[in-house]
Every structure is written in structure tokens, then in C-alpha cells.
């Protein structure tokens, strides 16, 4: 391959500057923190040390956290896969009424933060004061709770509600794109619907099922919020919550930081392994099952089960989406937590208080909005430049960029936060610990992968000849970028912006490890208020967060609808 432009210019050209800049951003923001974690875990007093790592892992506390992560992640993966596959099949392959609406509703849990859901379930099903438990105890005169949410089962249940869409999306997509004649040819061969499902349909969508369930596993393994809200109280820790506990207790003690880095290393390795497995599954399972011209797939007639199935879906959505959301808003409107929901106990004062009067919550909202906005803007801009180098430029060394860019995909939030603490608390001359800047740096590291993905996809659509035509017309590289490339990838940039801004608004895992007295984010404020027993304010703030998120999501939807038409 000839490297036309750069090879002809031995001097330091635009391409080299861009490449150096991209590498620098990714190294400083992404690579250094991760490397520091491994370094701290394996390098003790000037030498490589594995014995200590094993010693740390075999402590009861750490060992139990590893085991818990495994138990919870496996449980959620199994239940989430079953739920997701079942609903995906129901909305694509049966004559269920209102299939389209149901399909949209099953995706709603994706935009709701799971720790807010966990909060709601705590209010409903905590063993002593949960509303549902109390209701049944009063109604039936039971001594104990109907269901205790502070258990492995409870945590798995709540995580399943928010993570099953990973499988649902993948499987529904595969079933919809699948050529229906693959199944029809089995029918005409003499197979009944049950045999077809077993021998044809399920094997063909198996790669999608597997890749979805590995995503569930990846997220559950590294998941902080639900376990923090429902597990810590009764001593159930997983890896991220134990890291959090260690860092918070320690106030910088060497031993706890080490335990943290060892746990984080395990998490990184596990996550990387799951990502690798997922790529392998996807690569192996690339069956060509996409339909050409085709009739709609034959739908299984549910007949007598049609209405019961619809009611089941409605009940599921009511139970997992409507009930928790309503609970959050209702509790947020109570004068005091624990009072019954009667008119005289309800008030809007809590909402007014946290929005306008209370410095802590006002700070939190302002912090989240400004952090989300800055992180999105910076990451979007850096993402364009880096993607441009990766996709479009013929320079040597861009392989490193691709690797560095993919790295954050497999680095969980708590690992990034820990790495950022190691890198930016004075060891290398910069100390931004306890300031808002450290959170910003962590957000940039965490969301860089999103930006790279959206921008690379957009850039791949811009054919090289468009830039070459601009250069041939006399434009410099910068002019070509500014006048040709940027206008064409603007939708991708916009997508990247919102893909970062919205999740950043509700971020908890990273900021909970990094916040200082005045740098709480919305997520941190909701979480700490709940910890401190300020349940109604916590719920009210969660309600505000839900409103902002839903509003933001609908703005994006509208924006992209208009953008696509234009």
C-alpha cells in the first residue's frame, strides 16, 4: 500500500499531527488509568508479585465478592435470556394483538436507570417497610414478608427487568430479518411448528441469543447500582460494590487500594474475555438468513391464548415499568416516608425544595448537566478526529488507535474510576481529586467508545473520492475536512453527542467513586440521599431525573426523525 500523502512529506504534516493528537488523547485518558490498575495490582515494592495477588483474592471478603458477581451475573443472564427470547418471539412470530406497541414498550427499560428501579423495588418489597409486603402482611395477617428483595433472588429479579432488552433487541431483530421461507421449507418438508421451532428457528437465531446473553453477563458482572441499593444492606457485595466500599473506607490506604486494583484487574480480564467470546459467537454465527423478496413470516395463531398472552404482557409491563415509576413519583410526593398514600399526606413541596431551595440537589443537577454536556462535547470532537484517522487516513500506527479505541468497551465504569483516581491524584504532578474535573476525565474515558462507534459509522459512509475531489479543487486538508467531511458526518456527531449526554446525566458507577463534597451528580445524590435515609428527597430527585431522561429521549427521537427526512 502506498501512503501517498504522508510518505511524500518527510516533515511533520497534518496527518502526523492528527495521529499524535489522537494517540495522546487515548493514551492519557484511556490507556494510562487501565495500565496503572494492573501496575498497582501486580507491582509491589519495585517487583512483580503474583503471590500477593492470590493472597488478596483468597481473602474471604474478596473471594465472596467474586463469587457473588458470578452468581448474580449467571442468574441474570439465564433469566434475562429466557425473558428476552420469549418476548422477542411473542412480538415477532405470533398474532399477539398490539405487537408494535408492545415491542416499543419492551425497550423502555433500556432508558430507565436500573438503580432508580432498584430504589423503587426497595420501597415496594423491602422485608419490613416495603409497601407490597406491608399490604399483604396487613391483609392476610402474615408474620413475615411475601418477598424479600434484599436477597440474591431479589437482585437478580430487578437486574433482569432492566437488562433483558439486550437479548430482546438482538433476537427480535434476527427473527424479523430471517427469511421466512427457511421455516416454510421445513413445514412443506413435513415438520410441525414445534419441530420447526426446535430444529430450524432456534438454531438459526442462536448466535443472536448468545450474543445478547453475553452482553447481559458483561453488564451484570460490572453492575454497581442495583447491588449497591439492594445488597450492601445485607452484606451482599459484588466486585464493583466492594471496590466502592474499599475506596470509600480507605481514605487512600495502600491495602484497600491494592484490593481494589486486584478486583478491578479481575473485572477487566473477565470483561475482555466476555467481549472476545461475543465477537467469536457473532463471527461464527454469520448465517446468511436475511430475507430477499418475501412474504411475512407465518405467524403462530395463539387462538385461545391470544388474550391471556396480551394480558400477561400488559401485566409484565405494568409490574416492571409502570409500578416502579409510579412508586418513585408517589414516594417523592410524601410528607414523610412511611405514611400511607392519602391526599393529606401528599405534597409537591419536596419537588420544589430539591429543585429550587436545597443547595445539595441543585448542585447535583447542575453538576450532572454541565458534566454531561462538556463530556459529550469533548468526546464527540475527539471522537471525530480519532475516527477520521482510523477510518480515512493511511498512516502507519493507526492499529494502536483501533485497539485503544475499542479498549473502553471492555473496561467497566468502576475500573475507569479507580484508574482515574490512581492517575490524577497527585502521583504525576496533577491533583484534581475531589474536583469536578476528575469526573469529567473519567466520563470522557468511559464514553469515548460510544463516540468512536457513531463517528466511524458516519465516516465510513463518506467516500474517499469526496475528499480527493476537494483536494483536487485546491482545498487544503483542513479546508476539505471543514467544508466536506464535517457537514457530511454531522448526523453521526449529533448521535454521538446524545449517546453520551443522556447516559452521563444518570451516571452513578463512575461518579460515586469520584465525588467530593460539592461535586455530587444526580445519580450520586439520589444514591447517597437514600443511604442517609432521606428517602422522599431521594425519590423526588429520581422522579426529576426520570422526567429529564424521558424528555431527552423524545427530543432525540424527534431530532433523528427530522434529520432522516432531510
Amino acid at each position: 500500500m502506498t501512503t501517498a500523502v504522508p510518505a511524500a512529506q518527510p516533515r511533520f504534516g497534518t496527518a502526523q499531527i492528527l495521529l499524535a493528537l489522537s494517540v495522546a488523547i487515548l493514551v492519557i485518558v484511556v490507556a494510562v488509568p487501565v495500565l496503572l490498575i494492573f501496575f498497582n495490582a501486580f507491582w509491589v515494592q519495585g517487583q512483580f508479585n503474583v503471590v500477593d495477588v492470590i493472597k488478596v483474592l483468597s481473602q474471604h471478603e474478596t473471594y465472596q465478592a467474586l463469587l457473588n458477581s458470578l452468581i448474580l451475573a449467571s442468574g441474570v443472564t439465564v433469566t434475562g435470556t429466557i425473558v428476552g427470547t420469549f418476548f422477542a418471539w411473542l412480538v415477532t412470530r405470533t398474532d399477539l394483538p398490539f405487537k408494535g406497541t408492545m415491542k416499543v414498550l419492551f425497550l423502555v427499560p433500556f432508558m430507565l436507570p436500573s438503580f432508580i428501579g432498584a430504589l423503587a423495588w426497595k420501597m415496594l418489597l423491602s422485608p419490613r417497610s416495603g409497601y407490597i409486603n406491608r399490604l399483604f402482611m396487613d391483609l392476610l395477617g402474615l408474620d413475615g414478608p411475601v418477598f424479600d428483595i434484599y436477597t440474591y433472588g431479589g437482585i437478580i429479579l430487578v437486574e433482569t427487568m432492566y437488562l433483558f432488552p439486550f437479548v430482546f433487541i438482538q433476537v427480535a431483530g434476527a427473527l424479523e430479518r430471517m427469511d421466512p421461507t427457511l421455516e416454510e421449507s421445513a413445514r412443506i418438508s413435513g415438520a410441525d411448528l414445534f419441530t420447526i421451532t426446535r430444529k430450524i428457528t432456534i438454531p438459526l437465531v442462536m448466535p443472536s441469543i448468545l450474543s445478547g446473553s453475553l452482553l447481559i453477563m458483561l453488564y451484570s458482572m460490572a453492575h454497581f447500582g442495583t447491588v449497591a441499593v439492594l445488597g450492601i444492606e445485607v452484606g451482599i457485595y459484588n466486585i464493583p460494590t466492594l471496590i466502592y466500599e474499599k475506596i470509600h473506607q480507605s481514605a487512600g490506604s495502600f491495602a484497600s487500594i491494592r484490593t481494589g486494583t486486584v478486583l478491578a484487574s479481575v473485572l477487566v480480564v473477565t470483561a475482555a474475555f466476555i467481549m472476545w467470546l461475543q465477537n467469536k459467537v457473532l463471527a461464527r454465527g454469520k448465517y446468511q438468513i436475511i430475507a430477499g423478496k418475501s412474504f411475512r413470516p407465518s405467524e403462530l395463531k395463539l387462538r385461545g391464548l391470544r388474550v391471556p398472552m396480551l394480558l400477561f404482557c400488559i401485566a409484565y409491563i405494568g409490574f416492571t415499568i409502570v409500578l416502579p415509576t409510579v412508586t418513585i413519583f408517589m414516594v417523592g410526593g410524601l410528607r414523610t416516608y412511611g405514611l400511607p398514600f392519602t391526599a393529606e399526606n401528599m405534597t409537591l413541596d419536596n419537588y420544589k425544595f430539591i429543585l429550587f431551595d436545597w443547595q445539595l440537589t441543585r448542585d447535583a443537577i447542575w453538576n450532572s448537566v454541565s458534566l454531561g454536556f462538556s463530556a459529550a462535547l469533548i468526546t464527540m470532537t475527539a471522537g471525530v478526529i480519532i475516527s477520521y484517522v482510523i477510518v480515512k487516513m493511511k498512516v502507519r500506527g493507526k492499529g494502536i488507535l483501533e485497539f485503544l479505541g475499542m479498549l473502553p468497551f471492555s473496561v467497566p465504569g468502576s475500573v475507569i474510576a479507580l484508574g482515574v483516581i490512581l492517575a490524577w491524584s497527585g502521583k504525576f504532578g496533577v491533583n484534581i481529586y475531589n474536583t469536578v474535573w476528575i469526573i469529567l476525565v473519567a466520563y470522557i474515558a468511559r464514553y469515548m467508545a460510544f463516540s468512536l462507534k457513531a463517528n466511524s459509522a458516519a465516516l465510513e459512509q463518506v467516500h474517499d473520492s469526496l475528499v480527493e475531489a476537494a483536494r483536487a479543487s485546491g482545498a487544503t486538508m483542513w479546508q476539505a475536512l471543514k467544508d466536506i467531511v464535517v457537514p457530511l458526518v454531522r448526523p453521526g456527531m449529533l448521535a454521538a453527542f446524545f449517546l453520551i449526554f443522556l447516559p452521563a446525566l444518570r451516571e452513578l458507577t463512575v461518579s460515586v467513586l469520584l465525588y467530593g463534597p460539592t461535586t455530587r451528580t444526580i445519580g450520586v445524590a439520589i444514591y447517597t440521599l437514600n443511604e442517609d435515609g432521606e428517602t422522599v428527597y431521594s425519590a423526588a430527585l429520581a422522579g426529576i431525573a426520570l422526567i429529564i431522561i424521558v424528555f431527552g429521549e423524545s427530543v432525540i427521537k424527534r431530532l433523528f426523525k427530522v434529520g432522516r427526512k432531510g
Partner: protein, 351 residues
């Protein structure tokens, strides 16, 4: 009685009749092609025979049993019809080997293992796939995949073979080869075949009879020769082969074209003469040039297509296509000529 009998078969999608009161009978061992433009209802008809679509009216029987009936509200499920079907998009299962694809219907029928082996082997040998039997169908070309689908259908020893545009996903040179293979297999096994296509040469080459459809309505049923030689209406004439049309007014035993009056090349049917106008239709190679007499026109374009020369002759508003072999003399571009319709056909102006 015919082997397959469709009577009054109707299918509506919403208010639109995709298939309207279709009657068709197919004899044992006969190959019938359903031919028509896309959306004419041919695939829907095939899917009703296969059992994938219910009927809105009518009945389908095979042999002495009813397999679909609106009136009796009875539909034999597709899996119990013992038909073989080949789809346009191949529909071979990528997660099974070629052999397993062919053996699948036999395993479903719970045949003894030796028989499965023997019948799959036989089908694979007939389709020249025996050497790749253990491979994945994804490694085969389009033609190879379609042969797997064909072998799978053959292995069933079906009562009826249904082929849904089996060749249109293939490269053109494969298409011709596969056409001969299908014809060959049909001669050998003597299946009744219902074959859907939008390609007239495919239909001509393969089938004993052709059914031409348009807008859900049967236009004509007949042997390839009848369809080509005596099209029932203007649509069939235009759809099969090349065609030229002239709109003429008929008055007092003469015809008028573009303001000039001529003696008609043959007497038009009396009902068209009474109507006062008609389409005069001919194949481009059935029109001759003459220096005196004939419908007067001007040569606008002349293209050499190898053996054939293609003329476009302007007659008033209309353009008439004429084809001559390159040895025959003909006019040059810009010259005026007379057109003699050697085998004229007359069709009513509307419909």
C-alpha cells in the same frame, strides 16, 4: 378427472382480490407454469396450493382428497400435504450440512435409517451434489444451493412439486443450465409440477401448459405454442414475445391510421368493425417493408443486433417495431416506407 384441481379459488388482501375465481386443472405428470408480472397473484396461488395461505373462496383438491376448502372450512396443514417446494431465495438451512438438509424431511417422516440414507443419496446423486454432501450449503454458489433445495424436494417423493421462481436468484448462465436439469428430472420422475415465473422463456422451455395471469385474473391457459401463436388478448400478446401495436379506426370496411385510409390486411372481426376501432397487432418479424402499398411510416432508428436489424418506424403518433434478418433489404433512417402486416391480429381498444 384431473390430478390437481383448483376451482373458484379466490384470495383477498383487504379489499383487493389478489386471486379472483381461478380455475385450473393439472394432469398427473404435467408441468404447468403460472406466468405474469409481479403482483399478478401467481405466487399467492402457489402458496394457497402449498397451504401457507387460506382461501377466501373456492376449493383445491389433489387426487381424490380435498386439501383446501373455504366452504368446508378445511385446510390440510402444509406439513401433511406431501408436496415438494423450491423457493426463490433457496431456503436451505445454513446450520445443517447438505446431506442433513436433504435428509431432514425423511427424518421428520421417521423413515428407517437405511432408507433415509438411500433416498438422500439418490436425490443428491441426481442433482450432482454427492461429492459435497458433507459440506455446508453456505459454501455453495446460488446454483448449488438451489440444487440442494431441489434434492430436498425430490427426496420426499412428493405428490406435487411447487417451484416458486426457482431460477430468478441465479446468474443468467446458471439459469439455463438449471432449466435443463429441472426438465430432465421431471421427465425422469414424472412429477406434477406447478411452476411460478415471470420469465416467459423459462415458462416456454419448461412447461406443458402456461397460465398467464394479470391482476389476479387468468388471461389465458394453453400450450406454449397456443399462448405464443394465438394470444387471447392484447395483454397476453404484449407479455409474451415482442410486439407492435397500431391503434386504427374502422369505417366502411376500411381502416384509418394517422389520417390515411387503407384496405385492412385482413378483415377485422365484425364486433370490432361495429365498435369502430381496434388495436392492430403483429410481431415485429411478421411485418414486411414494401415500396408501394402498406401503412405509410418513416424510419426513425435502425439498430444492428447481430443477426437481426431492429427498425423503429413512426406512423403518426405511434411507433412500430419491425425486425428483419440482416440479409433482407430494408429502408434507411429518414426514408418513408410501407408496412405490410403479414399476420395481423385484432384486439378491442379497451381491456
Amino acid at each position: 378427472m384431473a390430478y390437481i384441481e383448483l376451482s373458484g379459488v379466490t384470495k383477498r388482501f383487504g379489499k383487493v382480490a389478489a386471486v379472483n375465481r381461478l380455475d385450473l386443472s393439472i394432469e398427473q405428470g404435467e408441468c404447468v407454469a403460472m406466468l405474469g408480472p409481479s403482483g399478478c397473484g401467481k405466487t399467492t396461488t402457489l402458496r394457497m396450493v402449498a397451504g401457507f395461505e387460506d382461501l377466501d373462496d373456492g376449493e383445491i383438491r389433489v387426487g381424490d382428497r380435498v386439501i383446501s376448502s373455504k366452504k368446508k372450512h378445511f385446510y390440510l396443514p402444509p406439513e401433511n400435504r406431501n408436496f415438494g417446494m423450491v423457493f426463490q431465495a433457496f431456503a436451505v438451512w445454513p446450520h445443517m450440512s447438505v446431506f442433513e438438509n436433504v435428509a431432514f424431511p425423511l427424518r421428520i417422516r421417521k423413515l428407517p435409517r437405511e432408507e433415509i440414507q438411500a433416498r438422500a443419496e439418490e436425490a443428491l446423486k441426481h442433482t450432482n451434489l454427492w461429492s459435497v454432501a458433507e459440506g455446508s450449503p453456505d459454501d455453495l454458489s446460488g446454483g448449488g444451493k438451489q440444487r440442494v433445495a431441489l434434492a430436498r424436494a425430490l427426496a420426499i417423493r412428493p405428490d406435487v412439486m411447487l417451484l416458486d421462481e426457482p431460477l430468478s436468484s441465479l446468474d443468467p448462465h446458471f439459469r439455463e443450465e438449471m432449466r435443463f436439469e429441472i426438465k430432465d428430472l421431471q421427465r425422469r420422475f414424472h412429477h406434477s409440477i406447478l411452476y411460478v415465473t415471470h420469465d416467459q422463456s423459462e415458462a416456454m422451455a419448461l412447461s406443458d401448459r402456461i397460465l398467464v395471469m394479470k391482476g389476479g385474473v387468468v388471461q389465458q391457459v394453453g400450450s406454449p405454442l397456443e399462448i405464443y401463436g394465438a394470444p387471447a388478448n392484447r395483454f397476453v400478446f404484449e407479455f409474451i414475445g415482442l410486439s407492435s401495436f397500431l391503434q386504427v379506426a374502422l369505417r366502411d370496411g376500411r381502416m384509418e391510421v394517422a389520417g390515411a385510409s387503407y384496405a385492412p390486411p385482413a378483415p377485422p372481426p365484425p364486433e370490432l368493425a361495429a365498435a369502430g376501432g381496434a388495436w392492430l397487432a403483429a410481431r415485429p418479424n411478421e411485418i414486411a417493408f414494401s415500396t408501394e402499398g402498406g401503412v405509410s411510416g418513416t424510419v426513425e432508428r435502425k439498430a444492428y443486433l447481430g443477426e437481426v436489424i431492429d427498425y423503429r418506424v413512426r406512423v403518426g403518433e405511434a411507433e412500430v417495431r419491425v425486425q428483419k434478418t440482416r440479409r433482407e433489404p430494408g429502408p434507411e433512417v429518414g426514408e418513408t416506407c410501407g408496412l405490410i402486416f403479414a399476420r395481423p391480429r385484432w384486439y378491442p381498444l379497451e381491456g
